[in-house]
Subunit: 205 residues, 2 copies
């Protein structure tokens, strides 16, 4: 199935500014995108990037500067999937689970109420990523008479937006994103029973 | 299978002190425990509470004041499962998934590196909940030659410790815990694209 992967090419991952500088955030977003594209490809799907700016990629790239929901709705051509670019924990097995349901609308909620991945088979479905999009997408699917299924996956629910999310990559990640974090000298630290990410100073820093 | 449900009966859920007073945290912890026990029961298992203090419950209660890992290891009698008491999103379907694997050690990671649920069939396995217990439990299982399986579930990964976790209950919760939060006048609020929990003032407040 064709899979759209929306990507914010400019000023990505601003909520990671307490740990990465702008150049690092730029690189980190691209590393996560590559992991997601590779995983979709390995799972037998055809990922296409929907980027806000031109981008080098092995996969086809469409540039659309408009807001996320507008751009996705314009490109949406069911049956089609939409998978976010900041899901480095996703494995081919998890992708297969997402596609295994035959429901008209399959939703993978993100932590915090977002929609991290979806499969759309109903021609009238439209996305709206603003706010708590997962309950909104459910309600919309119900309103248009589409059958709905939800995928319960920690890997799919974990979009990487802020420092606490990096803990999940260090614990569960295996791909290029994990290697990039190791290279950036990030490590787990346990303080008062809670696990956080800390960053070692670089040798030449 | 017998399922241990450890419960911190005194001073529970201190990290929710920015939204609930001590009496509310006490009540909230018990509501979550009841949801977990009911769900385990509905899934056909036999939950037993391992509590730090005496407790009223429909299920058997053992009181053990010692630290969590010590008390659990002392009570552990494989085959047995250990499921945390603060997982109100868990459904009978998710519980069935946890028990569907025949591995010697089945682990359900919590967000932040903890171990929210496990099934132990290997006689030499011991728990250690301090710090990033999920990778530690994996390593220990490997060291004793136990086969390992991980359950990838957002519902099992979501233990309710702090304010941001309540968003998940308002979005995905269905049981008594969800009703309790509605009663406490908690609701979702979207600010700058991020979803948070806010609390309405009570009418008589």
């Amino acid at each position: 199935m064709r899979v759209l992967v929306p990507f914010a090419a400019e000023h990505p991952k601003t909520r990671l500014d307490d740990i990465f500088d702008p150049r690092e955030r730029h690189a980190f977003a691209r590393v996560m995108l590559r992991d997601v594209l590779r995983t979709l490809d390995e799972a037998g799907h055809s990922p296409e990037v929907l980027s806000t700016a031109p981008l080098d990629s092995r996969m086809p790239v469409t540039v659309d500067e408009r807001p996320l929901s507008t751009a996705v709705n314009d490109a949406l051509d069911p049956p089609m999937a939409v998978v976010m670019a900041d899901l480095p924990l996703v494995t081919p097995e998890v992708v297969s689970e997402l596609f295994s349901s035959a429901a008209d609308v399959v939703l993978a909620p993100g932590r915090g109420g977002g929609t991290n991945a979806m499969v759309v088979r109903h021609p009238d479905f439209r996305v709206d990523y603003h706010g708590a999009s997962y309950p909104d997408h459910r309600e919309h699917a119900r309103a248009i008479g589409a059958s709905i299924e939800t995928v319960d996956s920690h890997r799919l629910a974990t979009d990487i937006d802020e420092r606490a999310d990096l803990v999940e990559v260090l614990i569960h990640g295996t791909g290029e994103t994990r290697a990039w974090l190791d290279e950036a000298r990030l490590e787990l630290e346990t303080t008062g029973g809670r696990v956080r990410v800390s960053r070692e100073a670089s040798e030449d820093g």
